[in-house]
Subunit: 184 residues, 2 copies
């Protein structure tokens, strides 16, 4: 008799349960994620995240999460918070890492530690309008993982690959999304 003692803290049963529930009622899988942003001064703004819609009804986070966004001192700003593009890196690292934990739980692989460095190249000629051939965003992004787990190197590679395949933020970066900006 073997007893699984793998515990990465992810409730895989709940996630698979949600997938089954979506099969019966596809409309409850339609989510709406939200934030608000309020300009403070200069390049400094504040963003709040509190509610979302999903599972067929309005949902709330445990608390309102607030974030400061700014440009650094080196751009003659006040560095009251990280830059918008750095928030994208926070999003990407968090998404892939949660995916690694979830897939590891499902595959009964005990994780010991997972760390990554995320780095994005950007040519500022784009955003400053100095060269029309240079894009505003990243030229490329690299995520480098160091993972300690009860698994072979091959199993760890497969974990990361599966997380990448199912990651929302990886998809958002690598594929285009329609964004509408309107004035009320």
């Amino acid at each position: 008799m073997t007893t699984s003692v793998v515990d990465n803290g992810v409730n895989v049963e709940a996630l698979l349960g949600a997938r089954d529930a979506f099969a019966d009622a596809p409309e409850i899988a339609q989510f709406l994620w939200r934030s608000t942003v309020t300009w403070v001064n200069g390049t400094h703004s504040q963003s709040n995240v509190e509610t979302f819609y999903g599972f067929g009804e309005e949902q709330q986070h445990r608390q309102t999460f607030g974030f400061d966004i700014d440009h650094p001192l080196q751009f003659a700003s006040e560095d009251n918070g990280i830059t918008p593009v750095e928030y994208v890196l926070v999003a990407l690292g968090g998404c892939l890492t949660a995916g690694i934990a979830a897939v590891a739980q499902q595959r009964e692989i005990q994780l010991r530690s997972v760390r990554a460095s995320v780095a994005a190249e950007m040519d500022l000629h784009g955003i400053l309008g100095a060269d029309p051939d240079v894009r505003n965003g990243f030229s490329g992004v690299t995520v480098s993982y160091q993972i300690d787990a009860d698994a072979t190197a091959e199993e760890i590679r497969a974990l990361v690959a599966q997380s990448q395949k199912r990651s929302a933020v990886y998809d958002i970066l690598t594929n285009p999304t329609e964004v509408t900006v309107e004035i009320c």
Copy 2:
């Protein structure tokens, strides 16, 4: 004699100065933005942002900025922080808003208040692997601005359009970026 008293807190001269400096030494416009992410437990991870490379040398933020990323209670997680996809919305709102302030300063338009709601639709059939035809990321994103400024409605529309045109995060969402995930 007219005296411009428009002050949105953006040092436009410094930004234009940077653009001129880039013309003389294009290599100093090559930036590298960074974050680290460390898995905590379950879907909870922590990300730090502290350094970046640009203007030809290593740079530091005023402090290390730390962020918690998690899934909400409704996904059988602990809601220790906002989800990865919500960080993308924080990034987008912050980027467009800083751009509006910078462009307004350059056009000598005094801003009174700028607020926006950011909302992103997502069908969870994608991320849960329940339907291969549904993408993991957002189906679409809408940013709705309310702007009070000493300007006509037409000038405000033009402000927002120019910010959109020069926004790094708007570009990152609407166009594909190559992302490499590796294991060290």
